[in-house]
């Protein structure tokens, strides 16, 4: 690491620092010198055509995929490329999958309970007792994600949109500093999409939120900075207006 790079990492407020990251699978470059900086409390949308590297980027940040080269730092000096998924999750990076993934055979309440921030050791789990305060926090979250009425329903019985919300709620129960949210409104109605945008806007501020999404209406509703990925690197960055008027972005989206 050069001194200049170190300065960058230590730049105040940069929660997530991804610099010059490349990943290839069998010769295919999924990420190509990708750089991305997310500051504390920021809401950021990431768009790009299929295969642009959006999901791979999340895999790298959450420890699922090791980059071939490049730096990934969290909160200044934590090198995420050396840690595994569980450790990274416990440090404060939550991830929502593209396909809503909840624990279907457990109740909505239990799903949130399993996600409560706290120690994750085997023996701690064996002797875990839910405190009244923790129970209240779960109930608050149920209100926030509009699932209070489904509290004791099995998560598998929820609608697609409700599962998306439950998963966002589970992320929030972890009290992460950064939420990586992969296509949160896929399969949602317009009204649900709007509510989800409102929820994410509300979450940002206390947390940094990175949203990957295809739905432009939704991205517009997020009212945030937008990063356009293309072939594994950043093509453009700025307000939605600005990137939509960017000639290169138009070519990538419409030119073929």
């Amino acid at each position: 690491m050069t001194p200049i790079e170190r300065d960058k990492i230590e730049a105040k407020d940069t929660v997530l620092y991804v610099d010059g990251v490349s990943v290839s699978f069998d010769g295919f470059k999924a990420l190509n010198n990708l750089s991305l900086y997310v500051v504390a409390g920021e809401l950021r949308a990431i768009i790009g055509p299929n295969g642009a590297g959006k999901t791979t980027m999340m895999d790298v940040v959450t420890g699922k995929t090791r980059p071939d080269e490049g730096l990934v730092f969290f909160q200044g000096d934590i090198d995420l490329t050396k840690l595994d998924e569980a450790r990274i999750a416990n440090l404060g990076i939550g991830r929502k999958f593209q396909k809503p993934t909840v624990f279907e055979t457990q109740t909505v309440f239990e799903n949130l309970e399993l996600s409560l921030a706290g120690r994750r050791g085997v023996l701690e789990s064996l002797f875990f007792k839910l405190s009244a305060e923790q129970g209240d926090r779960i109930d608050e979250m149920l209100d926030r994600i509009a699932l209070a009425a489904q509290r004791d329903h099995l998560a598998g019985s929820l609608s697609h949109g409700q599962k998306q919300w439950l998963e966002i709620g589970m992320l929030l129960m972890q009290e992460p500093d950064v939420l990586l949210v992969d296509e949160p409104v896929a399969g949602m109605t317009d009204a649900e999409t709007e509510q989800t945008a409102a929820l994410l806007r509300e979450i940002a501020g206390a947390h940094s939120v990175v949203v990957v999404e295809h739905d432009m209406e939704f991205v517009r509703a997020l009212e945030c900075r937008v990063t356009v990925l293309h072939e594994g690197s950043v093509l453009a960055e700025g307000s939605l207006e600005a990137v939509q008027n960017d000639q290169r972005v138009i070519e990538v989206y419409l030119g073929r």
């Binding site: 998924e85 569980a86 450790r87 993934t101 909840v102 624990f103 279907e104 996600s115 875990f128």
Partner: protein, 384 residues
Amino acid sequence: MTHGKSHFLLGDRGGLVLLASLAVLAVGVPALNLGLGPESALHVPDYMVGLLGKYLCFALLALALDLVWGYAGILSLGHGAFFALGGYAMGMHLMREIGDRGVYGNPDLPDFMVFLNWQELPWYWHGFDNFGFAMLMVVLVPGVLAFVFGWFAFRSRVTGVYLSIITQAMTFALMLAFFRNDMGFGGNNGLTDFKDILGHDLQDPATRAVLFSLSAAAVGAAFVIGRFITASRLGRVLVAIRDAEGRARFLGYRVEYYKLFAWTVSAMMAGVAGALYVPQVGIINPGEFAPPGSIEIVIWVAVGGRGTLYGAVLGAVLVNYAKTYFTGALPELWLFMLGGLFIATTLFLPKGIVGALPMMTDPERGQWRKALAVFRNVGKRKAS
């Protein structure tokens, strides 16, 4: 808050029925065996005590498998290995207890070693003359094997069919090893001709009655332990891993440690089952490691119903009772029936017998009709 208040045992009706049944059996069977003469209609004959005791050992083995398969989603096709290792540990102790009463009258060596012209006891047989040490080995040997096996398998994230296959390979490899005479475990014949346990004659009905009651107690204890684990947050994490391993990992759970815990506890329970089985049947040989035996355990659990613990116990007892009956009445058909039973369970009772019980007791919910509709649909699919 109403959540999580129900007691881990008292909140489980099926479990309470199981514990009550075990208590009745543990007291009733010995009483009806020893207390009543053969002329009484209620007399339980000696052979029946041994047979029921065997069923209980299988029930404990099934319960152990349910802990990993029903909850953590680890389909082991090699649980017979842990059962057999526990059985061998007990068998080694019983061999040492024979002393100089063997065919060759050698006070230092078991008969099979004398037969093989061995001059001294192999190092790994030392200590087994001590009952306490042997009992420790009953849980330690399967436990350590499971821990080492699981450590590598789960950390390498081997899951699903691949894991099932290597568990099968594990028990197969052990079977081949134990067949070898120079392994020092009696080779093909295994360990047998046991005389007594802690000074009590193994042929004595009183000894056998005590072994039976201990087996019932062991099933009960394993159920309470299993229920404590599965009703805790740890149990819910196991189910979470079974249903969405990636989600659990990204919530910060170290999936491999959770699996390792359940896997090792399960192997120890299986070891205890084997140790109780050996004195009651009077022999342990490498056949207990045979892969088909391990697959049968899976069928017991599937038939009884996964993920309840008591379902596994019920399945083991019912299937083994059927096996006893049909291998006597229609021996050449039994394997076809077992296979058919497994297929029928998978098709019509995916949650096993205990999963089907609410349908029978709750006609209001129309579950029977639903089940019949499924049945008819399957018929239609076949016809088309």
